[in-house]
């Protein structure tokens, strides 16, 4: 890589017009996932039961619903970054653009359903 123009050196961006944001966001969401998933697994393990009443009652608490929403956002973002690398490494023809669009659709739709479900349980108490 050349030294670029002086403004390019200041911005630390090359001709791709982007820098290390993929790498950096992968690390940031990895750290967030480390905390959120540890909380999630311990909470799941410590639930007194796994019937609908117990689990939905647990999810109605703000102390559960808010971390769950943050978990979905962080995990889906991290999953998207990881699957992007998979596509870039193994899909070499034009279909990589199709796969990237499908990937974006997959994580956006998935996260939207997940977050809506948590909000729905938290706000309406999820009717039996």
């Amino acid at each position: 890589m050349g030294n670029g123009t002086s403004i390019g050196r200041v911005r630390a961006l090359g001709s791709a017009h982007e820098g290390t944001h993929h790498w950096w966001h992968q690390r940031l969401t990895a750290a967030a996932n480390l905390f959120l998933m540890t909380w999630f697994l311990i909470s799941i393990a410590r639930l007194p039961g796994y019937d609908w009443t117990t689990v939905s009652g647990w999810m109605q608490s703000a102390w559960v619903a808010i971390p769950m929403i943050l978990l979905i956002a962080s995990v889906f973002y991290h999953a998207r970054l990881g699957l992007q690398v998979l596509i870039e490494d193994y899909a070499h023809s034009e279909n990589r653009y199709v796969l990237m669009i499908l990937l974006n659709a997959f994580v956006i739709v998935g996260a939207a359903i997940g977050i809506f479900s948590v909000l729905s349980i938290a706000f309406t108490g999820a009717s039996a």
Partner: protein
């Protein structure tokens, strides 16, 4: 993203040319477990949340796939549950290994190999401990 490349470009024989080591195994395990969870784990957690918000009937339909009538996990429940937790703990441990490598540490041959093996030891022990607690600890 680089532009699409022609099919005729030669590929590196990276999987067959080298003697396998712990670092190579952990590297590919990190990708397999991460992308596995990204494809299967995300669908499962959204299915679980949607079924939970849909009410007791839809939640029961979800649980019936993974549990027996007694409420205990069935074969699918154990395979998916243990598989995903093993993937999670392996990805967590090799992810922490990546954080260590990111700061420039752990590149010496012996240390690199030791950290790689440790991630596998950790993931097996953590999975065993998690399921031991779920099955006998409650």
């Amino acid at each position: 993203m680089a532009s699409a490349s022609p099919h005729t470009r030669p590929l590196s024989p990276h999987l067959t040319a080298w003697k396998w080591g712990a670092n190579m195994l952990v590297s590919i395990l990190h990708r397999v477990t991460g992308d596995g969870m990204a494809l299967v784990g995300t669908v499962l957690i959204v299915w679980w949340l949607a079924a939970l918000s849909g009410g007791s009937a839809s939640y029961a339909a979800f649980m019936n796939v993974f549990t027996l009538h007694t409420g205990a996990l069935n074969v699918i429940g154990y395979i998916v549950g243990i598989g995903l937790t093993l993937c999670f703990f392996q990805h967590l441990a090799s992810g922490i290994r990546h954080f260590i490598l990111d700061v420039g540490a752990g590149y010496e041959l012996k240390a690199n190999r030791r950290y790689s093996i440790l991630t596998i030891v950790f993931s097996i022990l953590a999975t065993a401990a998690f399921w031991a607690y779920l099955i006998w600890g409650k």
